[in-house]
Every structure is written in structure tokens, then in C-alpha cells.
């Protein structure tokens, strides 16, 4: 590495040090105004009083968080009890996103491993094949999934024609459909980091284990998987986080019974419920959960790297 050889790996120089302020200004202004400021204002809105049918009244209030966590009866004067409705929706979202992540891992790990062990020239093509669908519009992919899975859809027709089933399977509007939709939405995020980790894995370790008479699957479990664990962890985070707040898959594939966080929040701004502070509070709770998860996993991977 030429230039800043001391920076360890990446090329880094100070050629443009004098202009760095001007170079960074557009990014700071754009993201400061359009990303940071909105998040701050959202926090403020979550502590305001709701205006009926959307909007807020500029008056401090804890109502949004109170409504999220406590049930005070129909007239608001009963002794507060824990309100399970919204915690339940969050819990179901965590559960759904978790199962979708597991499904992605079960299919994504063997796929990533298979690709990483292809001859070097073929790998790029395999990775390309797995990532193409990701670049197709998410809405179109979700609609396509619904078209394929619906009761009179090609999947059921095909299975019935083959005589595998005699009556159509109901998949749309079930939890399974949501998990399949989420899996379909974010699978490349699972495959790519695991692929990168397996590609760097030193197969001499497997050779050594085999020389010591370790069976093939023991090598996988005891040597390979621990070695590529950071990649697996990264993949799980990258699938779990967007799944948690997703809107399209639960809305189009899950139907009314499979409500998730995304639909709960959307309803506060688009639907008839129209409670902006509550929507802001639910968003804050989701954001906090995601940030804690990201910080914990970053700590974890730092620890592993040491």
C-alpha cells in the first residue's frame, strides 16, 4: 500500500485535508436536516397531545406512552393495569421476525457455503444470481409472492394437478406467509456476510480436524461454524432488523389477524385511528429496540475480533 501505509490496509492520505470541510458540508447539511432533525422532532412529538384526525397540539403530555403501556379503563379513571395489546403486537413482531431470520439462516447458510466453495471464477455469478431478486421492487416481489401462494394460485393448482394435495392449502393470511414474505425480502442480507466469512475461512483447519478422525458434520459444527460466527451474527442482524419494522409483507401477506409493528405505526398516520403522538411513541420504542440490538451486536463482534 502506498501513501498512508501506516493506516493499516486501506489507502488513506491527506491530499484534500484543506478542503475537507467543504467536501463534508453537503452530506452534513442534507442528513442533518433530513435525517437527524426529523428523529429529534419525532421524539418531541411523542410527548405532545394528540389532535383528533392527525396532527398534534403543542402541549406536553405522557399520554402516548401511557396508552402504550397502561390500561386505565374506558373512562381513564380505573387503577392502571398493564396494557397487553401493543406489547403483544411488538412481541408478535419479534417472534415473526425471529422465525423469518431462522428460516433465512437455515436456507441461507448452506447456500452461502455452497457458493463460497465453488471455483473462484464461478462465485461472482452465483452471488449475482442470489442478489438479483433483491433489486426488484419489494412491493412487486411481495405481490408476486401473494399471487403464487394464494388459494387458487399456481402453487396450489400445481400441487393439485400433481396429486400431492386434494384441496388447496391456505397459506396467504397465515403467519407462514408473512415469514416467507420476510424471508424473500431480506435473504441476500443473510447470504452475503456468511459467504464473505466462509470465503476467508482457512480449510486447513478442516483438514486438521479430519486427520484427527473428526466426522464431516462434527467439523461443521465444532470448527467451521464457530470460525464463521461473526458472519452468521451479521446476517441474522441484517435480516432481523428490517423484518421487525416491515410493513409490506405483513400487510399484503398476513391480513388483518397478523398485525405487526409496521402496520400499527402506519395506522396512526394513514388510517382512521390517527393518533400522531402515539405513532411517534411506538416509532421511538421500535427505534430504541433496534439501536440497543445494534450496539450489543457491535460490542459482541468487537469482542470476537479481539
Amino acid at each position: 500500500m502506498a501513501g498512508g501505509g501506516a493506516t493499516g490496509g486501506s489507502v488513506q492520505t491527506d491530499t484534500y485535508a484543506g478542503a475537507r470541510g467543504w467536501l463534508l458540508l453537503p452530506a452534513w447539511v442534507t442528513l442533518g436536516i433530513l435525517t437527524l432533525a426529523p428523529l429529534a422532532i419525532m421524539l418531541v412529538y411523542s410527548f405532545l397531545t394528540k389532535e383528533f384526525r392527525g396532527g398534534v397540539i403543542w402541549e406536553f403530555s405522557l399520554d402516548a406512552y401511557d396508552q402504550f403501556f397502561f390500561d386505565r379503563g374506558l373512562f381513564g379513571d380505573a387503577p392502571p393495569q398493564i396494557e397487553w395489546t401493543y406489547i403483544g403486537i411488538f412481541w408478535r413482531s419479534i417472534w415473526q421476525a425471529g422465525l423469518a431470520t431462522l428460516l433465512s439462516l437455515l436456507i441461507g447458510f448452506p447456500t452461502a457455503y455452497f457458493i463460497a466453495t465453488r471455483p473462484e471464477k464461478q462465485r461472482a455469478l452465483w452471488v449475482f444470481l442470489v442478489t438479483i431478486p433483491y433489486w426488484v421492487n419489494l412491493l412487486i416481489r411481495t405481490v408476486s409472492m401473494k399471487f403464487l401462494l394464494r388459494d387458487q394460485g399456481p402453487l396450489n393448482e400445481g400441487l393439485m394437478a400433481l396429486g400431492v394435495i386434494s384441496e388447496p392449502l391456505t397459506i396467504v393470511n397465515t403467519n407462514l406467509a408473512v415469514q416467507l414474505g420476510l424471508f424473500y425480502s431480506y435473504l441476500p442480507f443473510m447470504v452475503l456476510p456468511i459467504y464473505a466469512a466462509v470465503e476467508r475461512y482457512n480449510f486447513a483447519l478442516s483438514e486438521a480436524a479430519a486427520d484427527l478422525y473428526a466426522p464431516r458434520w462434527t467439523i461443521l459444527r465444532r470448527i467451521l461454524i464457530p470460525a464463521v460466527k461473526p458472519g452468521i451474527l451479521a446476517g441474522c442482524i441484517l435480516v432481523f432488523v428490517p423484518s421487525l419494522g416491515s410493513f409490506l409483507a405483513p400487510d399484503l401477506l398476513g391480513g388483518a389477524r397478523n398485525f405487526m409493528i409496521g402496520s400499527l405505526i402506519e395506522e396512526q398516520f394513514k388510517g382512521n385511528a390517527g393518533n400522531w403522538p402515539f405513532g411517534a411513541a411506538a416509532s421511538m420504542i421500535l427505534l430504541t429496540m433496534v439501536l440497543i440490538l445494534l450496539i450489543v451486536s457491535a460490542r459482541q463482534s468487537q469482542k470476537e475480533a479481539r
Partner: protein
Amino acid sequence: MATRPYDLRRYPGFLGITILCLVILYAPLLVVTIYSFNSSPSITNWEEFSFRWYVDVFTGPESDKFKQAAWNSLIIAIIAATTATTIATLAATAVLRAGRFRLRTLSIGLISLPLMVPEIVTAVATLIFFNAIAFERGLMTILLAHIAFCIPFAYMPISARMQGIEATYEQAAQDLYATRRQAFTRILLPLMMPGIVSGFILAFIISLDDFIITNFVKGAGVETLPTAIFGAVKQGIKPNIMAISTLLLAVSIVMVTLSWIIGRKDKTS
């Protein structure tokens, strides 16, 4: 290890799962593409091959709505991707070519922020922001929101490319009395081009793709292609929607393939 009776790297079943994975990924898209050529107005029964619904997309009763939406999507994607790519190129130069400085780590964090915040939260925050400053919702609000979330997607390939370019080229230019500006525009920028093009294409697709944020910040009656399609799908999947989907699918695949080929050429040369 020629003596070993089997290949250690191979695990039985992994090929099968990989094929299953590709089938799951492509089956829905293939099925919709095939059914978009079905002449029947019903989406269940196959009648015969026809371009009927493609004609309907361009001349049918809903064509004006979809044409307007497609136009909006295209304009927004071009402006948002161009702006985001420019901002990302400048920021990458500062982060990778301007030495170490205090705000460096924070700048990297800020640029990747839109990737870490769940999309629905960004959507809510942006809507509330425009409401708080009494900015009327319309095409402009969609465009501003798109510029912001396109920046990290443009930044990734650009910074990856810049990390691969040795600084000796610019140093040589400066040794030969090129100004800093000349070193940037005549040396660094041309070398960066493949990364910049990939960044632009990525940002363009991401903008074209977005539904959730657009749905929150758009004004009443203003539609992009995804919001128009979502509105139509809520009434049930119709054959003309499948034709539009197939067209959009083709555009995405062509653009990604293009970006992939540019990236590969770049590595081999």
C-alpha cells in the same frame, strides 16, 4: 490431499438447498411474468398468450394514472440519485483522502444512519418533520426524503472503489504541479468513475423501489409507481398490474446487470 476418499468441503444436501433457495427466489417473479401474458381478464385461468395487458397499460382506462406515476418516479429517481451520488462522492473524498480528523468517525456514522434506522421510523420522522415546519406535502417532499436515504447506498460502492485506488497517482500529479482541484477532477474522478456509476445505479434503483417512505411523505393525489401499484393491489391483483410489474422487473434486472458488468470489467482491466 489426494489420498482422502472424499472432498472435505462438500456437504451432502447443500447443493439441493441452494437450488431450493434459487427456486423460492425466482418462482414468484417467473409466475407473474408468465401470467402477465395471459389474455384472460381473470388471474386464475390461463387462456392464451397475448400482449393484451401490455397494450392496456399504455392505452387502457388506467393508463393516464400509471403514466403520470411512472413519470414522477423517474424524475424523482434521476434527481435524487444524481444529488445523492454527488454528495456521497464528496463525502467519500473527505473521509478517505483528507487524513484523520475529529469528525471522521461521526461522519461515517451519520452517512450510514439511514441504513440503521428502520424504514418505517424514517418515514414517520420525515412526515412529522415536514408537518412541524409546515412544508406542504407533494413531489418536493418525496424528492427530499429520497435524496437523504439514497446517500448511503451511493456511498458504499464509491468508498469501496476509492479505497482501491492508490494515492500515488494524485501525488504524482501534484508533483508535476497539478493543483489540488486538477488532481481531483483529472486524476481521482476518472479513476472513480466505475464506483460512481455503480453508486448512481444503486441509488436510482433504491429510489425507484421505495414505497414506505414515499407513502408517508407524498401529498394527496401525488403518486409514484409503487404507491399507485399498492393502491391498485389493495383492490385485488389484476392482470394489468402484472404487466406493469413485469416491465418494472425487467428495468431493475437490466440496470443491476449493467452495474454488475461495469463492476466486473473494472476488476479484470
